[in-house]
Amino acid sequence: MSAFRSLYEAYRDRTYSLACYVLGDSLQAEDALQSIFLKVHRSLPAFRNESSFATWLYRIAVNECQDRLRKQPEAYVPLEDIIGSGAEFDGQLLPDELHAQSERQRVIQEALLLLSPKLRSVVVLKYLEGLSYEEIAQVLECSAGTVASRLNRALVELEARLRPLKGMI
């Protein structure tokens, strides 16, 4: 158990963060963290060193998060429903509130949630976990070209959502 515990401790925060950004809910992310590590434990005998441990773990994590999102379709708000509605962040936050780093992060986190789960996963794997396009492609079982194009779309959508706050964040 101690070897497994070391693995858990080494990856706990990164896995939790991934779940938290993708699911957008800290309680759900804690729950997901538990399921992810139980699945990791169950699948460990089948783990072959074809990919790195991290890549393998993140694949389990992303699948778990996407399963959860699928089971709760009401939690996902399609971008089309809000885009251009002017309901972005205007007027919701005072400029001086935004000076705080935590506020900036909260705004970015909220904007992330407006991306589709697929785009969100790519963003989190790249910017939080620091994976290369090839590693992300392994996690998501797609091509590196698809990773680049999803990232492109994600950044364009994020920029559009955060544009009203230009100069503040």
């Binding site: 158990m1 101690s2 070897a3 497994f4 515990r5 858990y8 706990r12 925060d13 990164r14 939790y16 963060s17 938290c20 950004y21 800290s26 992310a29 804690e30 729950d31 963290l33 538990q34 590590f37 139980l38 434990h41 169950r42 460990l44 005998p45 992060q105 970015i108 963003v123 989190v124 790249k126 910017y127 939080l128 396009y133 070209g145 680049a148 194009s149 990232l151 492109n152 994600a154 950044l155 364009v156 994020l158 920029e159 559009a160 955060l162 964040i169």
Partner: protein, 238 residues
């Protein structure tokens, strides 16, 4: 304004990300000189890239390790239950021991939990094996309410009288205290029956042996020893 150099446009993300070789960078920058649409796209991507760089790593407020550990233990017990039942059909042939050894050593390597049954498998007549029979209870270190603090073994069996039974409404966990006798209520071990090892809670006032993982709860208002999770409970007849 539109740009139809799709071959270059799909390279703008890796360009912003610094992932292109110098030849391709030159090619892109040459194109940017003439193409406002791509310059605009690069500006947008750079903004998104800047916003996301340094996304902070978060820490869970409640570490779910205990629940994971309990689930892993329950998994190991279940895995062996299945193997034992399957193997028991061929009991007379003496062969299942070897197959079992393989599965058990794998489970042990992963969990480090002592769950091997020793020796007496061939004496069993019944084909049903419960968790109690699969746990090797002999390997748990016996402790008492007074000497638990001197022990270091992670897997212990504590004996005492059951008091202060509580049910946590929220998660259905049972918590109770083991005491040596009613004259020393301040000396106790807290026992926690948690998911997924849902044991039937023992009767208050009965004397029991509680098998499980030894822990010290060091929260300032706690500071006590625990059996957490409880893996097995045995009544003691006096």
């Amino acid at each position: 304004m539109w740009c139809f150099r799709f071959d270059l446009r799909k390279k703008l993300m890796p360009y912003v990300d610094g992932r292109l070789d110098s030849r391709m960078v030159q090619k892109i920058e040459q194109h940017l000189l003439d193409c406002n649409a791509c310059r605009l796209q690069v500006k947008i991507l750079q903004t998104g890239h800047r916003l996301l760089t340094g996304l902070p790593v978060l820490t869970p407020t409640r570490d779910p390790w205990e629940a994971i550990e309990a689930a892993v233990l329950a998994d190991s017990i279940k895995a062996q239950e299945v193997t034992l039942v399957a193997g028991s059909r061929r009991w007379g042939v003496h062969a299942p021991g070897l197959a079992l050894a393989g599965v058990l050593s794998l489970a042990l390597a992963v969990t480090g939990v002592w769950l091997i049954r020793t020796g007496t498998l061939h004496e069993r007549e019944s084909e049903s094996f419960n968790q109690k029979e699969i746990l090797d209870l002999k390997r748990f270190q016996p402790v008492s309410v007074t000497n638990i603090k001197d022990q270091t073994e992670p897997h212990i069996v504590a004996e005492g009288v059951v008091t202060a039974m509580e049910l946590e409404e929220e998660d259905g966990d049972f918590t109770f205290k083991l005491i040596e006798d009613a004259s020393r209520p301040d000396q106790f071990i807290v026992c926690e029956i948690i998911e997924p090892i849902r044991l039937k809670p023992p009767k208050v006032g009965s004397r029991v042996k509680v098998y499980g993982v030894r822990r010290f709860d060091d929260k300032s208002n706690h500071q006590w020893f625990e059996v957490h999770p409880v893996l097995n409970i045995e009544q003691v007849k006096r």
